[in-house]
Symmetry: C2
Subunit: 572 residues, 2 copies
C-alpha cells in the first residue's frame, strides 16, 4: 500500500548530458552576450544582415532616415538648454583637472557629436565629470607640475584621454562590459563624497593664504601642513579668499579669448614618446573605467525609466570612440555625467557630491554596503583616490566571496496544515518532524565552502542528536539535504557530499536528497554518488521525502532494515 | 469564497529586526568561529575553564593522562615504520630544496615531537614535502646560489621556515583558517604535477652532461638551453647519468657523518639582518600557505574517515609552532605530507606526483575544475611555480565571481498532478501555466549581477510576451519571481527589483514574489518595496501564488481591475 505512493511519484532523473562544446558555447554566450545581440539577425538575407550590423555599431544610421523637422526643433531647444549647463560645467571641471578652461569648452563640443552618432542612449548628455577630472589632476599632478610645465601637462592629459578611449573601446569589443558592474552603487557614493572632500580641503590653501602647502591630497598631510603653519595664517587672505570665491561664482562665465575657432586638432600633441607614458596609460585606464561606470549607469537608468534598451558593450565602444576622437581634437576625458544637478557651482557642486542621504539609506537597508561606502570615503580622504577605490572594490568582492565561503545553512520545519517546509527562524509557528533533520544549504557548493559545510553539517547533526537524546522523542534517523538552493557544485563539493554520506552512514543514519538541480544531478551521477546514496533516496520535494521517511519510521519501526532493502529491490 | 482561500494562508511576515550588534556578532562568529570552539566552556567553573583552555591549545595535556603502556607499544611500532619512510624521504626532499641531506634528517626529528604535543590529528605523520622543498629552491635559488654560498643559503632557508611558522601561527590566532580553503583540490593536483615536471626537466642538465644551463625553470628556457647546445650533448654523460641515477636509488640511504648528535640549535643562524630578508619572508609566506593547505587537508581526510574533529585554526597554530621550533633547531619547512605513497624514490616519486588519474576524474565530473588544474600545470611548467599558483587561485575565484555575476535564471513549470513547480529544462513533462511567467533566480542578488538580472528578466518577459501573442492563448498577465534561491541581497539588488517592479507595472502586468527569505524580506521592507509591490502579492509558495493569479485570471477576467482593488481593500 505505502509503496505505491513512492512508485507513482515524479522521479528526479539524471538529465541527458549535453555535448561539451554545446554547453561551453551556451555558457560563453550567456557570459559575454547576455543581451543576445544577434537575435534580430536571424533568418535575414545577407544584405539586410550587413545593414543591421552597420546600424548596430552606428545607431545614427537607424534613426537618421526617420528624423523630422519636428525632432529638429525640440533638439535645438534641448541643445540650448543643455549647452547653458554643460559649457560652464566643462570649464569648471577643467580647472579641477588643472587644465586651461578652453580645453573644458572644447570638450563640450566634439564628444557629444561623436556620441550622437555612435551612442545608443537618447538621454545621456555627454560632458566632463568631476571625479575623472580630479583623478587626472591627482595622478598626473604627481609627475608633472601643471603650473611649471603646462604644455607637457596638457599633452599628458590628452594622451591619458586617448588611452582611456582605447581601453573603453577594447572592453566593448571584447564584450567585457560586466567589469563595470563590479563598481557597486555604494562604492560610487563613498568614492565621490571622498573626492569632493579632498577638493574642498585643497581650497584651504588659498583661503588661509598659505604659500608652502603639501603635495599630498590626504586629510593627514593637509591638516599637518595647515596646523604646522598657524603663524602663517592670514585673516586678510581668508576674507579675500571668501570674497574671491564669491567673485569666481559670479564671474565664472568669463572664459577668455577663443583662439583659432573651435577645437584645434591635437593628434600631434599626444605624447607617445614621453617618459611619462606609463603614468598617462595608468591614468587613462583608471579614469576610463570610472567614467565608463558613470556613463553607463546614467544611460541605463534613463533607458529603464523610458523602457528602452541600452547595450553596455555598445555604449563602451561609443564612449571609447568618443574619447579617441576627443583626444585628437583638444578634448579631455568625457562621459555621461552622473549628477546633472550638481553642475552649477564649483564649491557648491563639490559639497553636493557628498551624498549623505544616500549613505543614510545604505545604513538603513544594508549595513555592509554602508561599510563599503564609508571605507571608500575614508580611503580617499585619508589615503588617495586610488586607495579608496581599491579598498571599496576589494571589500565588495570580499562580500561576494564571503557569502560563498560561509553560506547560511538552515533547518527547515513543517508549516502547519501544509506540505511546505520553511526556515524555523523565519516561521516560528513551523513544527519539528520527529526523527528527521532537514537542512538547506543556501549557496553553490564550491571548494571555498566545502570544508566549512562538511563541518557545519556534522555540527547540525550532532546538535540535533544531542537534543533528541535528552528528550523522550524518537531518535534521529534521517538527514534530508534540500538541494533546491544549490545552484552549482564543483569536484570539491562532490567530494564533500561523498564524505558527508559516508559519515552519516557510519552513524547509522540515512542521507536523503531533495530537488537536486540539473547541473548538480549530472555531477552526482558522473561521480557515482547517486548510486552510493541510492536513486530511490532522491526526492523531488521535501514533502515527499518526509512522507517516505515517516512511512519507514512509523509503519515499520521494528524492522526498518528489512523493509528498506525490500523497498530498494522494488525500485531498482 | 475564493477570497477566504487567500486569507487563511500562512503569511510571509517581515521578521522582527535583530539589534545591529547582535546580528553583527552572530555573523562574525559564523565567519571566524564556524566550529564553535567555546561550546564546551559553557556553564563551567573558572578553574575548569582554565584547564579546558590549556587543553585546547596543548592537546597532549588532554590525552597524556590516559596514555597507557599498550598505547606506547603500538606507538613504538608505528614510529619505527614511519621513520623508515620519513628519514629517506626527508633526505631526498632536502636535496630537492638544495639543502644538505643532514638538514632533511634533522627535519624528521624535532617537528614531529612538537606536533605531537600541539597538533589535534592522531594520524598526520609530519615531515618535509616535495612542493615546499621545490619552492624553497626555486625562490631562494634565484637570489643566492646554493653551490657558491651554501652557508647563506641554509641560513635563508631557516629564516624562511621561521617566517612560515610565524605566518601559519598568526593565521591560526587570527582565525583566518578559511584562507586555506581557497586552494581547491584541482589547483593542488595541477600545481604538484607541474612542479614534478619542472624537477624532471632540471635533471636533463646532468643526464646530457651540459655545463652551461639556464637558471630559468620553465619549459621554454630549459628546452632552448638544451637544443641550442646539441653539439655539447654527450652520450657518455647520458649513460653515466642514468647509471648514477640507478646508483643514487640504491645508495640513497647513505647520509654522511652525524656531527654533534642530533639537531644543533640554529637560532643564531636566522638571518634577520640579511639583505635577502624580503626574499626569505616572501618564500616563508608562500611555502607556509601551501604546506598548511597540504597538512590540514591530510589531517581532515583522516579525521573524517575515523569520525573525529580537526580544528583548522588549532592545526594552523600547531604547524606554525612546529616550524618556529624547527627553524631554531636546524630544521626546514615541515608539514603533514599530502601523499605518503609518493615517498620512496626520488625520480619515481616526482613522476608519481603527476596524478593524471585525478585530472581525468576532474575532466569527467567538472570541466572548469579541469581547466583550473591544467592552467596550474602549464603555469608552473611554462612560467614559474608562483605564476602557476596565482593563475589557478585567480581562476578558481573567477569561477565563484562569475557564478554570482551571471546567475542562471530559470523558467518554472507545473509538475503534472501536483502543486510543485520545477525547471522546464530538467522536467520536460512539466506544464506551462497560461498567462503567468514564473522565474527563479539562482544566486544572491548583488551589485555584480543586478544589471545583468534586470536585463535578463525583461528579456524573459519579452520572449514570453512574443510567444503568447502569436498563439491564441491568454496574454501574459502575471510575473512570479520565486525568491527561494535568493540567499542574500544588497542595495543594488533592491534598486534592481524596484526598477523591475516599475517596468512590469508600466507594461500593465503584475509582479508577484514567492518565498522571500528572512534577510531579503527585511530589506524589501526597509526599502518600502513591500508596500510598492503590495504585501498581499507576496506568497509563501509558488503553488499558492499561481492559485491566486489563476483566480484573478479566470473568475473575473472581465473586470480584473475592480476585483483587484477590492481584494486589496480586504487585505489592508
Amino acid at each position: 500500500m505505502g509503496n505505491t505512493d513512492f512508485e507513482c511519484r515524479q522521479r528526479v532523473s539524471v538529465p541527458p548530458s549535453k555535448p561539451f562544446f554545446e554547453s561551453l558555447k551556451s555558457s560563453l554566450k550567456e557570459t559575454f552576450f547576455p543581451d543576445d545581440p544577434f537575435r534580430q539577425f536571424k533568418n535575414q538575407p545577407l544584405s539586410r544582415k550587413f545593414l543591421l550590423g552597420l546600424q548596430y555599431f552606428v545607431p545614427i544610421l537607424e534613426w537618421a532616415p526617420r528624423y523630422t523637422f519636428d525632432f529638429f526643433k525640440s533638439d535645438v531647444i534641448a541643445g540650448i538648454t543643455i549647452a547653458s549647463l554643460a559649457v560652464p560645467q566643462g570649464i569648471s571641471y577643467a580647472s579641477l583637472a588643472n587644465l586651461p578652461p578652453i580645453i573644458g569648452l572644447y570638450s563640450s563640443f566634439v564628444p557629444p557629436l561623436v556620441y550622437a552618432m555612435l551612442g545608443s542612449s537618447r538621454d545621456v548628455a555627454v560632458g566632463t565629470v568631476a571625479v575623472a577630472s580630479l583623478l587626472i589632476s591627482s595622478m598626473l599632478g604627481k609627475e608633472v607640475n601643471p603650473n611649471e610645465n603646462p604644455k607637457l601637462y596638457v599633452q599628458l592629459a590628452l594622451t591619458a584621454t586617448f588611452f582611456a578611449g582605447v581601453f573603453q573601446a577594447s572592453l566593448g569589443f571584447l564584450r567585457l562590459g560586466f567589469i563595470v558592474d563590479f563598481l557597486s552603487h555604494a562604492t560610487i557614493v563613498g568614492f565621490m563624497g571622498g573626492a569632493a572632500t579632498v577638493v574642498c580641503l585643497q581650497q584651504l590653501k588659498g583661503i588661509l593664504g598659505l604659500v608652502h602647502f603639501t603635495h599630498g591630497t590626504d586629510l593627514v598631510s593637509v591638516m599637518r601642513s595647515i596646523l604646522s603653519q598657524t603663524h602663517e595664517w592670514r585673516w586678510e587672505s581668508g576674507v579675500l579668499g571668501c570674497g574671491f570665491l564669491f567673485f569666481l561664482i559670479l564671474t565664472r562665465y568669463f572664459i577668455g579669448h577663443l583662439k583659432k575657432g573651435l577645437n584645434p586638432p591635437s593628434l600631434f600633441e599626444l605624447a607617445f614618446r614621453s617618459s611619462y607614458l606609463t603614468t598617462a596609460i595608468k591614468t587613462g585606464v583608471i579614469t576610463g573605467v570610472i567614467a565608463l561606470a558613470e556613463g553607463i549607469a546614467v544611460g541605463r537608468s534613463f533607458a529603464m525609466y523610458k523602457n528602452y534598451h541600452i547595450d553596455g558593450n555598445k555604449e563602451m565602444i561609443a564612449f571609447g570612440m568618443m574619447n579617441i576622437a576627443g583626444s585628437c581634437t583638444s578634448c579631455y576625458l568625457t562621459t555621461g555625467p552622473f549628477s546633472r544637478t550638481a553642475v552649477n557651482f564649483n564649491a557648491g557642486s563639490m559639497l553636493g557630491l557628498i551624498d549623505y542621504e544616500a549613505a543614510i539609506h545604505l545604513w538603513n537597508v544594508d549595513k555592509f554596503d554602508f561599510v563599503v561606502c564609508i571605507c571608500a570615503y575614508f580611503g580617499v580622504v585619508f589615503g588617495s583616490v586610488e586607495i579608496g577605490l581599491v579598498i571599496a572594490v576589494v571589500l565588495s568582492l570580499l562580500r561576494v566571496l564571503l557569502f560563498v565561503a560561509r553560506p547560511p545553512t538552515i533547518v527547515l520545519r513543517n508549516i502547519p496544515n501544509s506540505m511546505t517546509y520553511r526556515s524555523m527562524d523565519q516561521y516560528p509557528a513551523a513544527n519539528n518532524v520527529p526523527g528527521i533533520l532537514i537542512l538547506q544549504i543556501d549557496a553553490p557548493i564550491y571548494f571555498a565552502n566545502a570544508s566549512y559545510l562538511r563541518e557545519r553539517i556534522s555540527r547540525w547533526i550532532d546538535e540535533e542528536d544531542d537534543k533528541l537524546k535528552c528528550s523522550a522523542e524518537i531518535g534521529l534517523q534521517y538527514v534530508i539535504l534540500d538541494m533546491t538552493t544549490v545552484g552549482s557544485i564543483d569536484t570539491s563539493g562532490i567530494s564533500m557530499l561523498e564524505e558527508v554520506n559516508k559519515n552519516i552512514d557510519r552513524r547509522g543514519l540515512k542521507l536523503v536528497l531533495t530537488n537536486p538541480r540539473s547541473e548538480v544531478m549530472k555531477k552526482l551521477d558522473k561521480s557515482k554518488l547517486v548510486d552510493a546514496i541510492g536513486q530511490e533516496w532522491i526526492y523531488l520535494t521535501v514533502g515527499e521525502a518526509v512522507a517516505a521517511c515517516n512511512f519507514m519510521l512509523h509503519t515499520c519501526k521494528s524492522n526498518t532494515k528489512a523493509v528498506e532493502s525490500e523497498l530498494q529491490d522494488n525500485n531498482v
